[in-house]
Amino acid sequence: MTEASTAARVRAIAETVPDPELPQLTVADLGILRDVTVTGRHAVVTITPTYTGCPALQEIRSELRRRLEGAGFDDVEVRTSLRPAWTSDWITEEGRQKLGAAGIVPPRTAPLRSTGPVPLTLVGSTPTVRCPRCTSPDTTQQSVFGATSCRALYRCTSCGEPFEYLKEI
């Protein structure tokens, strides 16, 4: 087997690893899986954390190793890449559909950073997020942080249901 085809097999297995916090999505859907290379028998899988403190990272690292070793790859190195920093723009189209199906509104495009200080966003200036259940635009942000750092809490004022929004970052 050539290194290229081995790398393709390693990648195919790595792509099946779910995110522990959003188990509907895989690391490939989220854009956490950055690179797979194979040299001889040595496979290197590179991942990046979504948020610096994300406790899922270590779970993902272990699960990658477990699945790859289970498939017969016993020389696996999992590397962490910190730069470029993860952006919600890396979530794939399939990932966005899976988020929507789970009742989580997928993120808008992350704002392009202009030069100068990071701009302050104050109440009232947050763009409209449509309710994933009734599609009403009449929603209010309850909290900019939800169950995890990457999600914000919203409530729909039309149907009254709470929902989550995956923040652009």
Partner: protein, 290 residues
């Protein structure tokens, strides 16, 4: 296993999949290139990482103390998430300190084995914030200052610091937004909420000058393109505070003037009590794993 088994993930004791004290997950920099850039003194870089790491670690701990005490469940979730972001930054920074200062210490050694006199944080971060008005005032001041520092640090010649800053900027932008929204809501709220958040600002005012006092380490590292002199961030800080406090109908307190000794840890009662809680499990069970 095709579907993710959450129970198995929690109960599986094999390998290194836990993350906490004694859990074996003690190398957040695993697989990251940790070479020291040319012309940089390792001891200075280590001390600088400790400064930035200790600030994040202690604010994180104060925020964690709000869990089960916040006014609403949503706020507890938010404060816990902000605390987790800062804890993540502290872990990377303290792990980085151990790779460059020659001591070979792990992040746990810095967090749990140092005494009060060895911490390198600014005093603002250790203050008790048992009133929500104080907590939001401190978080606004801290996140505004840290965001300005991290934003400049993205251009650091140290690739690890630059990468940590790159991610940190995205996170702290949300922290600042959260704190600003609360300060405005409280300041422009009832007579009681206005009074309490104003009291919070007044209470932390004596500790703000230190944030903009350049230490020798920061000055030396800024000169070689690795660190940031915090005094450079003052104008940006003032502009943000002015915007938020005006919207909140709050009076900008007389912040203390920069200058004098900075980042002088010591055997202070507030710090000692904080560390007793932070370090109690690690000190009671040295080297424990679970």
């Amino acid at each position: 296993m095709d579907t993710y088994d959450a129970y198995q993930a929690i109960t599986d004791v094999a390998e290194d999949q836990r993350w906490a004290f004694g859990a074996g997950f003690d190398d957040p920099l695993s697989g990251v290139d940790t070479t020291i850039p040319d012309g940089v003194v390792g001891a200075d870089l280590g001390a600088y990482c400790e400064m930035l790491g200790d600030d994040a670690l202690l604010v994180s701990h104060r925020l964690q103390q709000w869990v089960a005490h916040a006014p609403e469940l949503e706020e507890e979730a938010a404060l816990a998430n902000i605390a987790l972001d800062l804890l993540g930054q502290a872990r990377f920074l303290l792990a980085r300190a151990g790779t460059v200062d020659g001591s070979g210490r792990t992040e746990d050694d810095y967090a749990f084995q140092r005494g009060a006199a060895q911490f390198r944080h600014v005093r603002l971060v250790e203050l008790v914030d048992s009133d929500f008005g104080v907590a939001m005032a401190r978080l606004l001041v801290f996140s505004t200052w840290r965001l300005a520092v991290l934003d400049r640090l993205r251009a650091s010649r140290d690739p690890v610091l630059a990468a940590i800053a790159d991610k940190g900027v995205k996170e702290v932008t949300y922290h600042r937004e959260y704190a600003a929204q609360w300060v405005i809501r409280l300041g422009d709220g009832t007579e009681l909420s206005h009074r309490r958040v104003q009291a919070g600002l007044d209470q932390i005012a004596p500790f703000v000058g230190e944030l903009f006092t350049d230490s020798d380490v920061e000055t030396r590292l800024a000169a070689v393109g690795v660190g940031v002199r915090p005094s450079e961030t003052r104008a940006e800080f003032d502009a943000v505070l002015d915007t938020v406090l005006s919207a909140a109908t709050l009076r900008c307190p007389a912040w203390s003037a920069p200058g004098g000794a900075t980042r002088t840890a010591g055997d202070r009662d507030t710090l000692r009590r904080l560390l007793v809680e932070l370090q109690s499990v690690a000190r009671a069970h040295p080297g424990a794993t679970w």
